[in-house]
């Protein structure tokens, strides 16, 4: 039984790591623009499918295909900002969010035309021989997913705390008007936030595809789960996104294993509602800050 519970936890944390990466992507854009980018899940899907194209179809080695994929998806993020977000003349939170929804439908449709409706497989990074640990069976790919989440967190923490650009982005998050007064180009920071979260989405997609396969319409569901994780942890908080994602994954997995797999998605949502009921700003959110925000 304890082996079973450990198995549920390991699986839950792996799935939760993907949710957490999506949630971090949501937060980066939210912090700078106050909007929820509904195309976030599409970045994950594109990451997986472009990686399949470069690594499997073109035969590029993993070590080259991985960064190339991240760069390509980052460019999609940049284009999304340049073509859909930046040109909106009188941006309101609502019109920007609607623009991201339109973009997500467009990206999904384009992916369907390019790749078709079939799912695609990616070879696991370090083989498919499972490891047995404390009565649980662990796919090596699980470590890659969790490892990349840790890497993303470390790099982002360093970026936002130790670099000028990162600090400038944080400044936009705190107060865009004051930030532009001190000479920060807010539009550039918005562009950067889309680029960054597209890159993180791509990493999530690349690492999860060997476990789950990838097809053109996978994005929406991942975006919903990632959004749930971001809200659970407190919108805008990076530690919150990570903790929120891991909790969401673990609850889904334990709920499915110990109670009923038919209500798996319901457990996560019940916990989400419960947390919001007692702490509307999420676990790590600050109610004072969320009052200033427009959304």
């Amino acid at each position: 039984m304890s082996g079973q519970i450990f198995q549920y936890l390991v699986t839950g944390i792996t799935v939760g790591s993907v949710y957490a990466m999506v949630a971090v992507g949501f937060n980066i854009i939210y912090n700078v623009t106050e909007i929820i980018n509904f195309a976030q899940g599409e970045f994950v899907m594109l990451g997986g499918l472009i990686m399949v194209f470069l690594h499997v179809s073109l035969g590029l080695p993993l070590i080259l295909a991985f960064p190339a994929t991240v760069v390509l998806v980052t460019m999609v993020g940049v284009l999304l900002d340049r073509l859909a977000i930046n040109p909106i003349r009188q941006p309101t939170v609502l019109s920007l969010i609607i623009a991201t929804i339109a973009a997500s439908i467009l990206i999904k449709g384009t992916a369907m035309f390019i790749w078709g409706k079939d799912p695609f497989d990616l070879p696991a990074f370090s083989g498919r021989d499972p490891i047995t640990l404390l009565g649980a069976v662990i796919q090596p790919q699980y470590f890659w997913v969790i490892g990349f989440l840790v890497l993303v967190v470390i790099v982002l923490t360093f970026f936002f705390d130790r670099t000028i650009i990162g600090k400038a982005m944080s400044a936009c998050a705190d107060n865009p008007d004051a930030a532009s007064l001190v000479g920060i180009n807010v539009k550039k920071m918005v562009l950067l936030s889309f680029a960054l979260s597209a890159a993180i989405g791509a990493v999530a997609g690349i690492t999860v595809t060997p476990i789950s396969l990838m097809e053109y319409d996978r994005g929406a569901m991942l975006a919903i789960k990632g959004f749930g994780a971001a809200v659970l942890g407190g919108l805008g908080s990076f530690p919150g996104a990570v903790i929120g994602g891991l909790i969401l994954g673990a609850i889904e997995s334990l709920g499915a294993g110990l109670i009923s797999s038919g209500y798996k998605d319901a457990f996560a949502l019940i916990v989400l509602l419960f947390v919001l009921f007692f702490k509307p700003s999420g676990i790590f959110g600050n109610i004072e800050i969320s009052r200033i925000k427009r959304f």
Partner: protein, 288 residues
């Protein structure tokens, strides 16, 4: 009218076919497309070619019984296809003396089924029956192999009927059973099998045109198209005459079976339209 190829979309078209008195030959699974549950009779203008879930379940249960297996775990996706198959698995279990010890579900976009399978492992069934289409049926297989559960035989529904799924499973499909129509295994059929000639011809034509392995689903469309073409040749373009001809068709040799329609049966197939197939060396093989 031929198609659509999904149960949901077919159900949306059915009332129109009835209203405008146009014969419809659907290529989707659910028996509800051709059977009106409220009036308890076949829908007058609607026919369909694919086997139903009921036939697939009967084929699997008959086979399990022959192997002396009576304790099974059911795994299904929470889509229309999965829910319908799960319903039939549970409904028919008592008739075949099957004891369902686990009834696990997963979503159509889920990334991992390790949890559901771990739970099943704890219940120690003699076999697992999985009902889904799309990537989840492949992921479930991989998880089954990773968890070292290959000693518990894995049965897939007829939704597994594409060689692409074997490829995607990356070796995990070895030894997996599923019920399939003759079209998938044309090369393996005995020379005196009544469907040998039509299925071999279709396989050659399909490979020549598309240069990819064929799947069950094209076969359903072939059956529908050929049925309608035969009707058109025999009775011309009158809608009512086409309908009557379809309803009285007997012994039509198709890709998925030999069709015998009647006023009460607008599907025309029974469980013998399925062959139990096992994946062996990355390809289908017949099981006896």
């Amino acid at each position: 009218m031929i198609g659509p190829s999904l149960s949901g979309t077919s159900m949306a078209v059915v009332p129109l076919a009835e209203k405008y008195k146009t014969p419809l030959v659907s290529c989707a699974a659910s028996y509800k497309i051709v059977w009106d549950d409220q009036k308890n009779q076949a829908r007058k203008w609607v026919f369909k070619t694919p086997q139903t879930d009921t036939m697939a379940v009967e084929a699997i249960y008959t086979f399990l019984k022959k192997k002396g297996i009576n304790t099974i775990a059911v795994l299904s996706v929470t889509s229309g296809f999965g829910a319908s198959g799960r319903g039939e698995l549970i409904r028919l279990a008592p008739d075949y003396g099957m004891n369902i010890v686990a009834d696990e579900k997963y979503g159509p976009k889920d990334t991992d089924m390790t949890v559901q399978l771990t739970k099943i492992k704890g219940k120690a069934p003699q076999a697992i029956v999985n009902w889904s289409v799309g990537p989840t049926q492949v992921v479930a297989l991989r998880n089954w192999k990773d968890l070292g559960m290959t000693s518990i035989p894995f049965y897939q529904s007829h939704g597994f009927g594409s060689r692409k799924n074997i490829e995607l499973a990356a070796g995990a499909a070895e030894g997996v059973y599923c019920p399939l129509g003759a079209v998938n295994v044309s090369e393996l059929l005995a020379d005196n099998h009544p469907q040998k000639a039509v299925t071999m011809q279709y396989m050659k034509d399909y490979a020549a045109k598309y240069n990819e392995p064929l799947s069950s689903f094209g076969g359903h469309a072939w059956d529908a198209l050929e049925l309608v073409a035969t009707a058109l040749k025999a009775v011309g373009c009158d809608k009512a005459k086409i309908r009557d001809f379809l309803e009285n068709t007997q012994g039509f040799v198709g890709q998925h079976g030999i069709f015998n329609f009647s006023p009460d049966d607008h599907i025309g197939l029974d469980k013998t339209a399925f062959q139990m197939v096992v994946v062996k060396d990355g390809d289908w093989a017949l099981v006896e």
